[in-house]
């Protein structure tokens, strides 16, 4: 049991720190949240800088164009980047954190060569087309159909809550190919170009007022069979890989961001006198313990995955449950620090507080995570 860094890791960290200190002041100003083309350009620009400096795809296997670094280096990267206030992965989230790793694990060499380098170089953006109006928690009940026609699948149906659909080039799309098979058996994982004829994106306004996600309508879209990852009708298994990345490691960087926010909250409370409120102060102290432990839990889960071959296990659900709740509590505490100012939408923390309401829903609701933990980790009898 250790958390020690090797000499090499310390050097890596020092080099990264120096690079961040030099690079971050050179970045252009951040675009406004509603400026979608601006956000895409900004996020891809940041990814490109990472790529040029050799920091892209640190934890991806070398065969996938990554640097095959161990988990310690990957976590050190997230930690340092967040500490320095570097941009968040943003539009690159799906590509870097779950579609990419899925293709790296399940794709053919040709597929890896086609899709992975542009993600790392900051040239292409991915989105995730899993959920449908009638299939959220019950993902396996999805109805979007894909019918084989020569060397292509013809896809018809619709997806919803598709984050970043407006600016995405590719979509990791889950479709039904075997309508007569048991529901988990007839699904297939496809990479769909978002500019294919028949794809219509209609932005959906979130409760935060922005258009973070969209409805996506698919009307006879032709997706080449070569764009299928994994076997036909074997998409559920591939999807489980995607979800384990999504829940297992994708939020690691955000824990550091939360700790940073918590520190800023303490400073703000000190400045406006709220720090003298014992109840609030103790609450912030408790949150400090939570986020410190969540970072440790990340290290724990990542080192456990490392011992068993790299794909995070159901431990990701344990993490997600604790993290999503702590993050919502963080912004509630922020509102207490701000007092009435917490009603003014110009405050970053207020917008974050609204966004944080999604954390117990997106990427599988807390109820679904609880059931996964109960049945897959604790081995309780299957419920209905």
């Amino acid at each position: 049991m250790d958390l020690a860094e090797t000499e090499e890791e310390r050097e890596f960290r020092a080099g990264l720190r120096a690079w961040l200190a030099k690079t971050l002041p050179e970045l252009p100003p951040r675009p406004s949240p509603d400026d979608w083309p601006g956000r895409r350009a900004y996020d891809l620009g940041w990814q490109r800088r990472l790529y040029d400096a050799g920091y892209a795809g640190l934890h991806w296997p070398a065969a996938a164009g990554g640097r095959g670094a161990g988990p310690a280096r990957h976590l050190a990267f997230l930690e340092e980047a967040e500490r320095a206030g570097a941009p968040y992965v943003g539009a690159n989230f799906v590509g870097l954190l779950h579609a990419g790793p899925t293709i790296a694990a399940e794709g053919t060499p040709a597929q890896r060569a086609r899709w992975l380098p542009p993600v790392l170089r900051g040239e292409e953006v991915w989105c995730q087309g899993f959920s449908e109006p009638g299939a959220g928690s019950d993902l396996a009940s999805l109805r979007t159909r894909a019918v084989r026609d020569g060397d292509a699948y013809v896809v018809t149906g619709s997806k919803v809550w598709t984050s970043h659909a407006e600016i995405a080039d590719w979509c990791e799309l889950l479709v039904r190919t075997g309508p007569d098979a048991p529901r988990h058996r007839g699904l297939t994982w496809l990479a769909m170009p978002m500019d294919a004829p028949g794809v219509t994106v209609r932005p959906l306004r979130t409760l935060a007022g922005s258009a973070e996600f969209a409805e996506v309508f698919l009307d006879g879209v032709r997706v080449p069979v070569a764009y299928r990852v994994g076997a036909e009708d074997d998409g559920w298994r591939v999807t489980m890989t995607t979800l384990s990345f999504e829940r297992g490691t994708a939020f690691a960087g955000e824990v550091v961001a939360c700790r940073r926010t918590l520190g800023a909250l303490a400073r703000a409370a000190r400045a406006n006198g709220r720090w003298d409120d014992t109840v609030l102060r103790r609450r912030l102290g408790r949150l400090a313990a939570e986020f410190a432990a969540l970072w440790r839990l990340t290290q724990w889960n990542v080192s456990a995955a490392e011992r068993t071959g790299g794909v995070p296990g159901a431990g990701g659900s344990v993490f997600k449950l604790a993290y999503s709740q702590a993050r919502q509590e963080l912004y509630d505490a922020a509102a207490e620090v701000l007092g009435a100012d917490a009603l003014a939408l110009e405050e970053e923390w207020v917008r974050e507080r609204l966004s944080s309401l999604s954390y117990t829903i997106a990427a599988g609701t807390s109820q679904i995570q609880h059931t996964i933990v109960a049945e897959r980790i604790l081995g309780l009898p299957k419920g209905r």
Partner: protein
């Protein structure tokens, strides 16, 4: 970084688990409770104490040159986790801390308790004096007398008054305020080892709840197939896992801090602020996990959970005792808040030049 236990650590854990299940299984636990209820001693079995001593439980961190095992806090928390799982009674933490300071502590021939309840001398309100656990059974008290070292209970007992205890296996006395109490270093170590006991209890109650939920049938199926019950159980695991990583990480960091500054290890000043904060967080989260898990475990057991026969109440009562030992939630949260602010102000200066978003 390999945060998972090594094979040696797993073996150590397995060894302690085997010893405890042989010597302090469920029957022994219930027999101890029965004896205590009948007015007997408060749960320290001297024979078992010596056996634990023989197995290195107390001398685990004493240097080999001094007759110890020469291991660190990382190993100690694994061992204490097992003791917490078994609900082993007695002043385990204080005796472990006394190894090398009080004769007989290291080999388990002495029982040492400590002034570890509450964070500071009792406030003016309430009955005078402070509570001490296991006073009548102890050979020495850590943190009493001049210099905060040790004192024979014989000197304290005449002025001490026995008070009924919430936990049948943790007898209590109220005594006039003694000396300054254990030093910062002992408090940190005591808090961490107590957190490890809490962790063991928290993990154990998850197992008890899951086992009961899989067996007990209502409405023609195991209650564990009902989501309301499943979600209680998974919430318990989440609390325990969060506490587990906090406890292990604090131990690993404390060991690393000791290795980095070997000279400071023997000092009374305690660990540095960062490690002290990790320990405070570990104690806070482990206290919560132990108490809340015992409650939820009781809920899963239904009416059976409210009986004296079920072990759940023993876990809950002990969790309450431990939550008051070495560092309370209030003190931990204040310490964490202070460290958060100090750290944030430090970092604020450092990061101000390229902070993102105006609010940071």
């Amino acid at each position: 970084m390999d945060f998972q236990p090594t094979q040696e650590q797993e073996d150590l854990r397995a060894g302690v688990r085997a010893l405890l299940s042989r010597r302090f299984g469920r029957e022994a636990l219930r027999a101890a409770v029965d004896r205590a209820e009948a007015g007997g001693a408060g749960g320290v079995d001297r024979g078992l104490w010596r056996e634990l001593g023989g197995a290195g439980f107390f001398a685990l961190r004493l240097p080999e040159a001094d007759g110890g095992v020469g291991l660190g806090l990382a190993e100690a928390v694994l061992v204490f986790e097992e003791a917490g799982r078994a609900l082993l009674p007695g002043p385990l933490v204080a005796t472990h801390l006394a190894a090398g300071r009080v004769e007989g502590a290291a080999d388990g021939t002495a029982v040492v308790t400590a002034f570890d309840l509450g964070d500071r001398p009792a406030a003016a309100a309430g009955p005078p004096g402070r509570l001490v656990a296991h006073l009548a059974e102890a050979d020495a008290v850590l943190g009493a007398g001049a210099g905060g070292c040790t004192e024979a209970p014989a000197a304290l007992l005449p002025a001490a008054r026995p008070v009924p205890s919430a936990d049948p296996l943790t007898p209590l006395h109220r005594v006039p305020p003694p000396g300054p109490g254990p030093d910062a270093r002992l408090r940190d170590e005591g808090a961490l080892l107590t957190a490890a006991l809490q962790l063991g209890s928290a993990l154990r109650t998850v197992e008890l709840a899951v086992r009961y939920a899989a067996q007990r049938e209502q409405f023609g199926r195991p209650i564990g197939a009902f989501q309301a019950v499943q979600h209680l159980c998974s919430g318990m695991l989440v609390r325990a896992e969060v506490a587990r990583t906090a406890v292990y990480a604090a131990a690993v960091c404390a060991d690393a801090a000791d290795r980095a500054g070997a000279a400071g290890a023997a000092g009374a000043a305690g660990f540095g602020a960062a490690v002290a904060a990790e320990i405070a967080g570990a104690k806070l989260l482990a206290d919560r996990a132990a108490a809340a898990n015992a409650r939820d475990c009781l809920q899963v057991h239904g009416g059976m959970g409210f009986t004296w026969e079920a072990d759940v109440h023993l876990h809950l009562k002990r969790a309450w005792v431990r939550a008051e030992q070495w560092r309370t939630a209030a003190a931990a949260e204040e310490a964490l808040a202070a460290e958060l602010l100090a750290d944030a102000q430090e970092r604020g200066r450092e990061g101000a030049s390229y902070a993102r978003d105006g609010s940071l």
